[in-house]
C-alpha cells in the first residue's frame, strides 16, 4: 500500500522514528511491515510495528545498510510503499506478571506489546549499548529497568543481568533483541520453567510465507525443522528455537 510520510526524525544516533499514514489492518504486537526503501534496494525490508492509531503507524529503525539509510533520508510528504501487518506476533495472556526484555533495536515492537498487554504487573528491562531511546514511552507501562553496556544511563551491564533476581515473580517472559540475549532468555526460561516468547530475525524476501528463505531452526520430534520467520514467526516459544 502506498502511504504518505507524516514525520521521520532521528531519536538517537543512527536510530529514526518514522510515522506514516495508515489505513490498513491493525497489527497485533510483534507483527511487522515490509517497507520499500527505494534507491538501489531490491527487496522490501521487514520492520516491526512500534505503535499504531486509527490514522497512522510508527516504526523505529536503525540505519544498518543501504535500505535503512535511504529510509532515513525520506521526508515528510514523501510516499512509501508499505505492506502488512505480517507475521505471527506475541500471544497475549491477561492478568499475568510479565517480564518484557528488549535489547537495542529489538525494543520498538515491545513498546506496542507493553501498551496492549493487560498484565497484572509488567517488569520491563531495556538494554542499550550506550545511548538510550524510547525509554520515556515505556514509563507508565510498568516497572522499567534500564541497562547500558557502558553505564552511561541506568545500570551498567547486560540487560539480562538481574533477571534471575526477580524471576520468581514472573509468569511469562517476552523478549526481542540480539541473538545472544535471546539465547540467555531461552536458558532462563528453561531453567526456571517459565514460558517465554521471543521475536527472532532472519533475512526475508516475500515476507508472507511463500518463498521459505527466512528459515528459523526449531526442535521437532527429536530432530529439527525450519519454520518461516515471516509467517510462523517472528515470535516463537523460546523452548522450540534452536540457536
Amino acid at each position: 500500500m502506498e502511504t504518505r510520510i507524516l514525520s521521520n526524525e532521528k531519536i538517537a544516533s543512527g536510530i529514526y522514528k518514522l510515522v506514516y499514514e495508515w489505513k490498513g489492518g491493525i497489527p497485533s504486537p510483534g507483527q511487522f511491515v515490509m517497507v520499500d526503501c527505494k534507491g538501489k534496494t531490491f527487496l522490501k525490508r521487514p520492520i516491526s510495528v512500534c505503535s499504531v492509531d486509527d490514522k497512522s503507524m510508527t516504526i523505529v529503525y536503525q540505519v544498518k545498510g543501504e535500505g535503512t539509510k535511504n529510509l532515513s533520508e525520506m521526508k515528510k510528504g514523501d510516499t512509501i510503499e508499505v505492506t502488512g501487518p505480517h507475521g505471527h506476533g506475541f500471544e497475549l495472556y491477561e492478568d499475568k506478571n510479565v517480564l518484557i526484555v528488549g535489547g537495542g533495536i529489538g525494543i520498538p515492537p515491545l513498546l506496542y506489546l507493553a501498551k496492549k498487554i493487560k498484565a497484572k504487573n509488567s517488569y520491563i528491562a531495556l538494554g542499550f549499548k550506550s545511548e538510550i531511546f524510547l525509554v520515556e514511552e515505556f514509563k507508565n507501562l510498568g516497572e522499567v529497568i534500564v541497562t547500558t553496556e557502558d553505564g552511561s544511563f541506568g545500570k551498567k551491564g547486560m540487560v539480562t543481568q538481574g533477571i534471575e533476581d526477580i524471576i520468581d515473580k514472573i509468569d511469562i517472559i517476552y523478549g526481542c533483541g540480539p541473538k545472544p540475549m535471546l539465547k540467555i532468555l531461552q536458558d532462563i526460561s528453561l531453567k526456571n520453567n517459565i514460558p517465554c516468547q521471543i521475536s527472532v530475525e532472519e533475512r526475508m524476501a516475500c515476507g508472507i510465507g511463500a518463498c521459505l528463505v527466512c528459515a528459523c531452526k526449531v526442535k521437532k520430534d527429536g530432530g529439527f525443522a525450519y519454520k518461516r520467520v515471516c509467517k510462523d514467526g517472528p515470535v516463537f516459544w523460546a523452548e522450540e528455537v534452536e540457536f
Binding site: D36, K40, T41, F42, L43, K44, T83, E202, R203, M204, A205, C206, G207, I208, G209, A210, C211, L212, V213, C214, A215, C216, K217, F224, A225, Y226, K231
Partner: protein
C-alpha cells in the same frame, strides 16, 4: 480478445504463470490476488520424502536481484497430495507440480503418484543449483535430461515440462534433449549459479557456497536463452527469469515463449502477475492484436 494459449496439450486461460518456489502452494498469495485469474500455478519443488532444506541464511540481496539457497525445503509429495492439492482444486486454475528427484527412479515415482485429478502438468526440475544430489547436476547433462524425461513420460498422462538450467554452454542442446525424451514443453531459466562472500569474516555467505541468482538482473540472459531454446525445439517454451512487468513478459513471448512465469518479482509486488496480465491485454488493444498467439515468436529478424 483471445488470451488462451496451449502448452503441450494443456490449455491455459492466459500465458501468465507463477514460477516454482516463489509462490508456495498458492495459499499465501491467495490473500493478495485472485488465483483464478492466473494462467497456471506452478508449486514449490517436491521431493519423495520431506526435505528440511538448507540452513540459513538462505537469501542475499544483490544488485537488482537476489541469491537464494532454500534447498528444496518441502513436506514431500504425499503431504502435497493430501494437504495442498485439495486447496488448489477449489480454484479454476491449472496446477503444475514441480518435482525434484535425486535419481531417475524418484522422478518416475513422483510423476506416477501425481498422475491424478487436480494435477494438470508435471515440471521436471533438473535445474536446482541448491541441492547436493540431483538438480542442476542432471540439467547440465543432455543424456540425463533425455533419460529422466523419457521415464517420466512413461508413467504420466499429464503435460510434462522440463525445467532447464541456464548454467550451460548451449541451452539449445539441453532443450533438444528434453524434446527428444518426449517432453511436451520446456521451461527456463532456473536460477543462475552465483556466490557472495562476507568480507569481514572472509566466509561464504551461504554454507553451500553457491546459491541461485534470480530477479531483474538476469532478465537479459534469460531472454537470450529463451530465444535460443525456442529456435532449437518445436515444443512450446515457457519463459522466465526476472520478469517484472508486462513489457518483460512480452519480450519473452515475442522471442518465442508460449507462456511466461513470474518468480522473484512476486516478492517485491504481490500483484505482479495480475498487472502483467492486464498490461498484456492493454498492449493487445493498443496494437490491434486479437489473438495472443500472434505475438508468440513474432520477432522480426532480418
Amino acid at each position: 480478445m483471445n488470451l488462451q494459449v496451449e502448452v503441450g496439450g494443456l490449455k491455459l486461460k492466459n500465458p501468465v504463470m507463477t514460477a516454482s518456489g516463489t509462490f508456495g502452494f498458492g495459499r499465501e498469495y491467495g490473500e493478495y490476488i485472485d488465483l483464478n485469474q492466473l494462467g497456471a500455478i506452478v508449486v514449490k519443488g517436491l521431493t519423495v520424502k520431506p526435505k528440511e532444506g538448507n540452513p540459513p541464511p538462505r537469501v542475499y540481496e544483490t544488485p537488482c536481484g537476489m541469491l537464494n539457497s532454500v534447498g528444496l525445503q518441502n513436506s514431500g509429495v504425499d503431504a502435497f497430495i493430501e494437504k495442498e492439492l485439495p486447496f488448489l482444486r477449489d480454484y479454476d486454475v491449472a496446477v503444475i507440480v514441480n518435482i525434484a528427484g535425486e535419481t531417475i527412479e524418484e522422478f518416475a515415482y513422483m510423476a506416477k503418484k501425481l498422475d491424478i485429478d487436480g494435477v494438470d502438468g508435471i515440471e521436471i526440475n533438473v535445474s536446482c543449483p541448491n541441492v547436493k544430489k540431483g538438480g542442476m547436476a542432471f540439467g547440465i547433462n543432455p543424456d540425463d535430461i533425455f533419460n529422466i524425461t523419457k521415464e517420466v513420460k512413461k508413467v504420466t498422462q499429464k503435460t510434462v515440462i522440463v525445467k532447464l538450467t541456464p548454467n550451460v554452454t548451449d541451452i539449445g542442446v539441453c532443450a533438444k534433449a528434453a524434446e527428444d525424451g518426449g517432453a511436451d514443453a520446456v521451461s527456463l531459466i532456473n536460477t543462475i549459479a552465483g556466490m557472495a562472500i562476507n568480507i569481514d569474516t572472509r566466509t561464504p555467505v551461504f554454507k553451500n557456497m553457491i546459491a541461485g541468482l534470480s530477479g531483474p538482473a538476469i532478465k537479459p540472459i534469460a531472454l537470450r536463452m529463451v530465444y535460443e531454446a525456442a529456435r532449437a525445439v518445436k515444443i512450446p517454451v515457457i519463459g522466465m527469469g526476472g520478469i517484472s512487468s508486462f513489457k518483460d513478459a512480452l519480450e519473452f513471448m515475442i522471442a518465442g515463449a508460449k507462456a511466461v512465469a513470474i518468480g522473484t518479482c512476486n516478492f517485491v509486488n504481490p500483484n505482479c502477475t495480475i498487472e502483467v496480465i492486464e498490461g498484456i491485454k492493454q498492449y493487445m488493444v493498443l496494437n490491434n492484436i486479437e489473438d495472443i498467439n500472434e505475438i508468440i515468436g513474432s520477432l522480426k529478424v532480418d
